[in-house]
């Protein structure tokens, strides 16, 4: 059994007891515990079930590489699945539950998969469930989804109550990892005066050194760590962050730091996670190394752990993972575990060393303690029940026969070490295979390259493939100095502290234990714990032709789980290489991609949630609209009232009321969102003649003209009314969505093509609140305002005719009035300062009472314009429509030699007489055509689909006409007036519609011209 030891536990505070629950059971740990160490202290070795076979699994590691101990943490709106017990700090009230089992961890119905595992090999799902097709969706997939998987997804309706934020930070040198290598690199870099940021993923500094022992400058590593930390904390140019993991390295020195602020004190307030978005001139990766498991049958049985992690539990948290432990190894480091366990009073049953010649001084030290060491031996099999009960030992160089069985309740295994090269590799750093140590290490000659073409990542310490304190510290000092030099800070000579640790003899690669294990053993020998990939799966993939490591990865899912193969990749590669009769460096690694370790979606989203999920653009009249029934519609980032609904009124009723009232009395539209661009300069006229298809240079001062814009490839991009302000100034209205894009479009042409033209453009869209005063009473209400104010601009037909504008005062407000109409009614668009917009609107509403004024929304705007046959960018156009399609030839200047789109209109497809053209559409029965419906033609096309001859672009119920009206693009449309065509609806109905003139109302245009 696993228990808390009476002594040891450098990270726990035994005076602070902490209560928590696991699967509803009350347990106790200490401050400083991880959830994993606390569970072990409570004899909870089994922590979950595996992904595919539902095998019982225990914790294997002590850090972020842990593949098994995934938990569902928290309850209610703070519930989160798939959290690692090893990286979860214990806190009072923590509630954890294991996952992927039913009904309970101890008894799981789906562990039947384990019995069937013979059949559930790599590619099983692909092979088995491909036929018959329909069964996949309705039978296979639901079952597989239920049986496979990690934690349950949170309830869809619950919202995360926590907040998150980003933080932008700039540093000369970022050191990732706060172990002794990271601290020494930081010290060396900081001595140069460079600005240094050090990120440590854990809540404690120093990494493995305090556990592994040895001395630094003659003292215990802890002493040196404390001193160095103190020194660094005292430096103004150094920032230290713990609980902050670097999750990725990206182009041009971009590094992400994932800081966990309140995970260990939930509900404390303030952001839960902070995502550091860092720019570094140089990055030092001092990310250490991860121990590899050994591949033997039953290496996933709860109680089998990495040897160094077992040591961590003893030294850091005072937890012994078992009473009788077998240590299996191919290197000297695992002997430290044997010594550590022995010292903690745990019986070390055997050390099984696969090397015929065994190890060096550490082995001798173990033997001196009376521990039995067996050389050239292997674990044949670990027996479970469900935890480790017995270990069968055999010769390494055999098939697993002639076993000796020993009783044990835990196994410590060590298959050697792999430098953590993830961050080095994220952005293209290359690796070399180190044959002696059997690992990939960074190739300093091929680092990731930055914007200046030079390397910007330097690996340090064991992440750089150095083992032993002396080598680690020397390398770390050099890496820090190199980083500061490269960042432009000449390094001060920094003497590396002297590290001393026991000499170790060479490890020996052992990729399978025993070397010739038979198939029965290989089928119980796990490579990837989290995704349940076995040695036999990788061998099968190789036999089936998956020779590329990337293909094997995807076929077997090796290394694709949330741990991204931190433990399994190298072991898997070795098996693949062996199966292919190739060498590991030839097979190569899969691609390392960020994040190194999963980070929360909340951290990625940062502040963007709730009210500030995205910017909502508000007009000066927004609050009034909101308080007066606005049924909001998003238009780009703006919110515009679709209609103003009154109590008891449907949307449809409101729209009909607004349409009728505007036609008969007086309507007000908040038109502030329309883009307004000032274009000024000696060449402004010439420039606008290029921008618009029609002529703008000859527009008279004081007058307005409707203009069309095309892109260079001829398609309509925007439209709006242009006003000539003075000799060299024009004001261009754009669509609501077009203000920024058309401003950018103009700047683009001015800056990149006609840069010698003297034109300035300013976007003054938001300077004004613009109100469309529309309807037969429009002039009356404005004149009333002027009368009340004792004067103002002359708004009569003669003083301000249709398609002209004037500056002056209206109702005491400084205003610009445009006589333009998008409704066909008498209409003024009045622009006042945005800061006075609400006051002006209030004045209009007040004065308009006697004229039965009503505000109207965008739907009424659409209906009014559709009744008049006016096109709308985005309805009648979709990026493939040219002015000719909309019968707008009149707006294409023949006088101008050039304008954007002119050349494109000459292309053969643009001049095709078969292009669909704009017509009006009237249903035979007066109903409303479905939006976007297609008109059917004769026959079928090459794909067997019904041929189509047109589509609906705008369709509304016209309260004015008491029937449905629509516009659409129809093949040869204008030549087919009166013809009835058919539009099948998605409701199964066939709509019959007559092709008519698109102007449905006031064809002569008399109403707007009064």
């Amino acid at each position: 059994m696993s228990t808390r030891l009476a002594k040891q536990g450098r990270l726990i505070d035994r005076s602070k007891k902490i209560d928590f629950t696991f699967n509803g059971k009350r347990m106790q740990g200490y401050a400083g515990d991880s959830l994993a160490s606390a569970l072990l202290a409570n004899d909870q070795v089994m922590m979950g079930r595996s992904f595919k076979y539902h095998r019982p699994r225990g914790v294997v590691a002590a850090g972020s590489e842990e593949p098994n101990a995934l938990m569902q943490l928290g309850t209610g709106d703070r519930y989160e699945p798939n959290q690692r017990a090893t990286t979860t700090e214990l806190f009072s009230g923590l509630s954890a539950a294991s996952q992927n089992h039913w009904p309970s961890l101890e008894f799981d119905v789906l562990s039947i998969n384990n019995k069937l595992s013979r059949f559930l090999t790599a590619g099983f799902y692909y092979k088995m469930f491909i036929h018959p097709r329909p069964l996949w969706k309705h039978v296979y997939e639901p079952i597989i989804r239920k049986s496979a998987g990690l934690g349950a997804a949170p309830e869809a309706e619950l919202k995360d109550p926590d907040t998150y934020e980003h933080f932008y930070f700039f540093a000369d040198v970022v050191v990732v990892g706060g172990g002794v290598a990271g601290l020494q690199s930081a010290k060396a870099a900081a001595a140069s005066g460079a600005k240094v940021l050090v990120l440590e993923q854990n809540n404690h500094w120093g990494g493995r050194a305090p556990v592994d022992g040895g001395t630094i400058d003659g003292e215990a590593p802890e002493v040196w760590i404390e001193k160095t930390l103190e020194e660094l904390r005292g430096m103004k140019n150094v920032t230290l962050r713990d609980r902050c993991m670097s999750s990725g390295v990206y182009d041009h020195g971009y590094v992400l730091g994932y800081e966990r602020l309140t995970d260990h004190v939930p509900g404390q307030g303030g952001p839960r996670h902070r995502l550091w978005r860092i720019r570094a001139k140089q990055i030092v990766t001092a990310t250490g190394a991860i121990e590899r498991p050994l591949s033997f049958a039953g290496n996933d049985v709860p109680g089998v752990m990495l040897a160094a992690s077992m040591r961590d539990y003893v030294v850091n948290w005072g937890v012994n993972p078992g009473q009788k432990v077998v240590v299996a190894t191919n290197n000297d480091d695992a002997y430290r575990t044997a010594l550590c366990l022995h010292e903690a009073g745990v019986e070390v049953v055997r050390v099984v060393d696969a090397r015929e010649t065994g190890g060096g001084a550490l082995m001798e030290a173990v033997r001196e303690k009376g521990i039995r060491v067996e050389l050239g031996r292997a674990i044949a099999k670990v027996k479970d029940g469900p935890r480790v009960t017995k270990v069968a030992i055999c010769a390494q160089n055999g098939e697993g026969g002639a076993r000796e069985e020993v009783e044990a309740d835990a196994v410590a295994m060590s298959g050697g070490w792999s430098p953590v090269v993830h961050l080095w590799s994220h952005c293209g750093g290359k690796l070399n295979w180190d044959k002696e140590n059997a690992f990939f290490r960074p190739d300093p000659a091929r680092p990731p390259l930055g914007d200046n073409g030079a390397g910007f990542v330097i690996a340090s310490g064991s992440a750089n493939g150095n083992l032993g304190l002396a080598a680690v510290l020397e390398d770390a000092a050099a890496a820090g100095a190199q980083a500061s030099e490269a960042a432009g800070f000449p390094a001060k000579t920094t003497q590396a502290p002297k590290g001393v640790s026991e000499d170790e003899s060479l490890m020996e690669p052992v990729w399978l234990m025993p070397a010739k294990a038979d198939i029965k053993l290989r089928m119980k020998t796990w490579l990837d714990y989290q995704n349940d990939v076995k040695v036999s799966d990788v061998q099968l993939a190789a036999r089936e032709g998956y020779e590329s490591v990337e293909h094997t990865k995807r076929y077997t899912t090796l290394g694709m789980a949330t741990d991204q193969g931190k433990l399994s990749n190298i072991n898997g590669l070795a098996i693949l290489a062996d199966s292919l009769n190739s060498e590991i460096p030839q097979v190569g690694t899969t691609t390392f991609r960020p994040p190194y370790h999963p980070i929360s979606m909340g951290a990625i989203g940062g502040e963007a949630r709730g009210e500030i999920f995205q910017p909502v653009r508000k007009t000066p009249i927004y609050d009034w609209n909101d308080a007066n029934g606005a049924d909001w519609e998003p238009v780009g980032q703006w919110r515009r009232p679709f209609a103003y609904t009154r109590s008891g009124e449907s949307r449809h009723d409101a729209v009909n009321r607004e349409v009728k009232n505007t036609r008969e009395n007086l309507g007000l539209l908040d038109a502030s969102t329309l883009g307004k661009l000032i274009v000024k300069g000696p060449d402004a006229g010439k420039f606008l003649d290029m921008m618009y298809t029609n002529m703008m240079s000859n527009l008279k001062i004081g007058k307005c003209r409707y203009g069309l814009m095309c892109s260079e490839n001829g398609f309509l991009s925007d439209d709006g009314v242009v006003a000539r302000i003075d000799e060299d100034t024009w004001l261009c209205h754009t669509t609501t969505g077009g203000a920024e894009s058309i401003h950018g479009h103009m700047e683009e042409w001015l800056q990149t093509e006609w840069w010698d033209w003297k034109v300035y453009v300013a976007n003054v869209t938001e300077q004004y609140a613009q109100v469309a005063v529309v309807g037969p009473k429009a002039r009356k209400v404005l004149e009333k305002l002027n009368n009340k104010a004792g004067g103002g601009m002359d708004l009569s037909k003669d003083a301000l005719p249709f398609m002209e504008w004037r500056d002056g005062q209206i109702g005491g407000f400084n205003a610009r009035a445009y006589r333009i109409s998008f409704s066909g009614e008498l209409s003024y668009e009045i622009a006042v300062a945005a800061s006075e917009g609400q006051a002006f609107w209030d004045a209009l509403m007040e004065a308009g009472k006697e004229f039965n004024v009503m505000p109207y929304g965008t739907e009424t705007l659409h209906i009014l314009r559709a009744e008049k046959g006016f096109i709308m960018i985005g309805d009648e156009t979709d990026g493939t429509v040219i002015p000719q399609d909309l019968n707008l030839q009149w707006a294409l200047s023949k006088k101008k030699e050039d304008y954007l789109g002119k050349r494109a209109h000459l292309r053969s497809h643009m001049a095709d007489p078969d292009r669909w053209k704009l017509v009006g559409l009237e249903t035979v029965d007066g109903s409303v055509l479905p939006d976007g419906a297609y008109a059917r033609g004769n026959g079928i096309n090459a794909n067997g689909q019904q041929n189509v001859i047109g589509r609906v672009t705008s369709t509304y119920y016209s309260a004015t006409l008491g029937r449905g009206i629509a516009m659409g693009l129809v093949k040869h449309g204008p030549k087919r007036m009166g013809e009835v065509i058919e539009f099948p609806g998605t409701d199964g109905k066939i709509y019959q519609a007559k092709i008519v003139d698109p102007v449905f109302y006031d064809k002569e245009g008399e109403k707007q011209n009064v």
């Binding site: 041009h252 971009y254 390259l449 800056q751 990149t752 093509e753 050349r903 292309r907």
Partner: protein
Amino acid sequence: MLILECPYCGVKAEETELSAGGEAHLKRYGPGSNDDEFHDYLFMRENPKGVHFERWRHANGCGKWFHAARCTMTMEVFGTYSAQTYEPPQEIKDKITAKRPGWSWREYSDASE
């Protein structure tokens, strides 16, 4: 995520301040051009693995368009320069030659060859 120095305001801007504007140094063909010229102007673009010339706009910044010469493979930036030019300045071409001898892109190439 790239950083490009805006030659107009001197800011070393990260990509979220910028908007990409496609290939640089396109020659505009308008009325009077033949179909092939116009087609190539609208649609034909380089897609090099290596030296490339691009347009960028410092959209969330000074608003200016500029040119960037960079390597699409290594992300190395050889330089940024004014948008008001029909071809890469000699200084930029020299920088590229120093780093990528024998380079070529459309009609431009290592002048030393």
